[in-house]
Amino acid sequence: MSTHTEHQASQGPEPLDVNDPKLTRFDIVREGARRDDIEIVHYEPQVLPGTKAERRLTRVVAGFFLITGLASTAFLAIYIWWPWQYEAGRGGDKFYTPLLGFTLGVALLAVGFGILTWGKKLLPKEVSIQDRHEGQVDSEGRTITGQTMLYMADELGVKRRPLLGISLLAGLAPVAAVAAAPLVGGLISQPHKNNQMFTTGFAAAEGGQRIRLVREDGRPIRPADISSGGQLTVFPGIDHGVSNRHADSPTLLIHLRDSDAQESRRANEKVGHGDYMWGNYAAFSKICTHAGCPASLYEQQTNRLLCPCHQSQFLITDNARPVFGPASRRLPQLPIEVDSEGFFVAKSDYTETVGPDFWERP
């Protein structure tokens, strides 16, 4: 070994003969590291073999692994035998998921701590230094690769034969479009089919039949059903009117108190909606004009309607004008009256666009 060191000082590292029987295994490990430009500068066992500390740490690690075994077994036992089917009330099934999570968590944590203790406490501490070769630019390599690529370009001869390049572009561009076409073409969907963005379920049926306002269970509504100051969510009385197929149709029917109703009627007249209310009843779209959530929190005292998603507030007595928050457009009003049988009907569909705003809305 001494001969090697003498040479190394002048000529850099010379590989060790790893078949030398005098070498320890650590010598070979260190030699391997050196060949990877790694120098192990510090390697220190944390516990000596046969000491009390080693025995203690071994017991700790073994303890962790045994806890894992216990917890896993408990997990399996609970999984198999604990009552798990849902029952109303406070049954044992309510503990099924917590117990599974607890036992699984303990099992995994214990195996984790066991491995960590093994690695951090029982294995020798070391400090190794690896060279990054930072800033050593392999300029020769760059030249060779660069020239190789240029050579390949030359061989293809696109410069000499420009027609090849042009025809390649002209030929391949459509191919790329071919790949995209089925995807785009399949997904794309005309947004204004049947004028769907501007109509709701309250649009008069064929033959001019006016649509009734109905409750969630489909029953029509009489004026006496809502007390003064009250409100009710109503739907178009058509097939699937009370479903997500008509997600734009839910409407809030409000029975205003006398003074509020007068104020509301005056405001209606100002925008040419003089006949939209029926008596003290007014109906506004429930779908917020901001992001489409149902604006459902009605404050009777202030006549404000609040959307719980982004806190837009609409003043009902002023044509549901947005008075606070991010909404910029009032809630559309549904013109209503009472038909000959005494039920609420929509005189026509909404006259303004319902729901969140979009580019071509006006």
């Binding site: 089917q85 690896q130 089919k193």
Partner: protein, 543 residues
Amino acid sequence: MKRRKFDLAATPGKAAVGVDDRFAVATPLRKLLNKVFPDHWSFLLGEIALFSFVVLLLTGVFLTFFFEPAMTEVVYDGSYAPLQGTPMSAAYASSLDISFDVRGGLVMRQMHHWAALLFMAAIVVHMLRVFFTGAFRKPRETNWIIGSLLFWVGFLAGFTGYSLPDDGLSGTGLRIASAIMLSIPVIGSWVTSSVFGGEFPGTIIISRFFIAHVLLIPGLLVALISVHLGLVFKQKHTQWPGPGRTNNNVVGERMFPRYALKQGGFFMVVFGVIALMGGLFQINPIWLFGPYEAWVVSAASQPDWYVMFLDGSTRLMPAWEIPIPIGDGYVIPPLFWPTVVLPGILVGLSTMYPFLEARHLKDRNSHNLLERPRDAPARTAVGAMAVSFYIVLTLSGANDVIADKFQISLNAMTWAGRIGLLVVPPLAYYVTYRLCLGLQQHDREVLAHGVETGIIRRMPDGRFVEVHQPLSASNGHADGHGQLDYVGWVVPKKMNRLGALGPAIRGFFYPIEKPVEAPVSPGHPPVEARPEREEIGSGESRR
């Protein structure tokens, strides 16, 4: 013919030779086993994200066995009594079945959700670590960009995931997402109707989100994560400055065995914590929300935490609608700015930051040594500005809950958010900048004058002075102080960090009185230095 004796002990060796004959892996394997990793607790934050992702894949595969991604209307007849007989989508019904009728399904569902939240949280914290220590600088800009993209792709993964159960809460989230798409000028209505296959909600969105959530997005995540890790491996990890550490080396532990063991143990711990949370802490109890109905919403409907900043920006946005009076007239809704433009700006700024900073500082060098946040006050202050911006938005995303719990007017909360969004970040910048300078100055003071000892001495002329313990031997200076250069690492500021008192040696339950004798193993250490190498310096350059 003589029968050869079977030598069991030689089998692994023989097998190894056989493998190497075929694949020639011995040397590459050695290089892998030997690779050196620097060690610091903050380098483990990214691992949490990685390990959470593994848990997400495992639990997610389980969930796909039972989830039915269809909006077909069914009538629920599962074992959760309060909803029996309710019409709902097949997606919601099968999510309820996972929660109630699949044995152990609920714990898997909750683990999946918690792992997703942890995944995003770990990404954010890891990103902050990388930002504030300058680890994104050349040559690691690409990895910074990939990391930023991972946040946004993870965001999409989360959103598509929590939309799948089609419950009352997630349906409202979908409705808002459709409104956000609608708000895009010119193409908004086309985008929305193409994504939803017609008018909201249509009948196909859950199936589309399902394939995006279980195949497309995870595929993208796996690809990005692989490149991310590959680059960390290729470019080698950054390290803190310190004794023997230069821009040109990596000081740490070899990958095997200690580093790998610690990683494996850490994975198990992360996995275990997720299991505990999945079992003990309820999350997203969809059976309480009911099926999605377009007319039902409750107050305090909040998205998952990493979406809340966008919810906040939407709430704070004033109702500025931009009408465009051409032809029939067009409009840009106010929703467009906080939900499409703002994320766009954030993606652009965050991905481009390494280049912006390098350009500003005219810095073209490679940096493998990290910087303490105080040593780059401008960057740290910019980071504090970004964090405070994010926090104001996130708090505003919950402003109705805050208003309710603390009895504050809701409108006041909104205004506080609007003003705070403009005022707090510059303030954070200024305060952070001054803090950094103050910390820098204190470091320099300690290096020049030494550590405060707490010993007060009375001078012959009656003055009282505090005795400072110099950090280096006197160097012929008149004041008896040596001078040390700052090397970018922690300056000792307490006596016992200098060794004057000796650190207490900690035991598990009780302090161990006497330090263990320096162990000397018979085989290897103390390790002799490689002969031709120069001595490893302390890292402090003395004048």
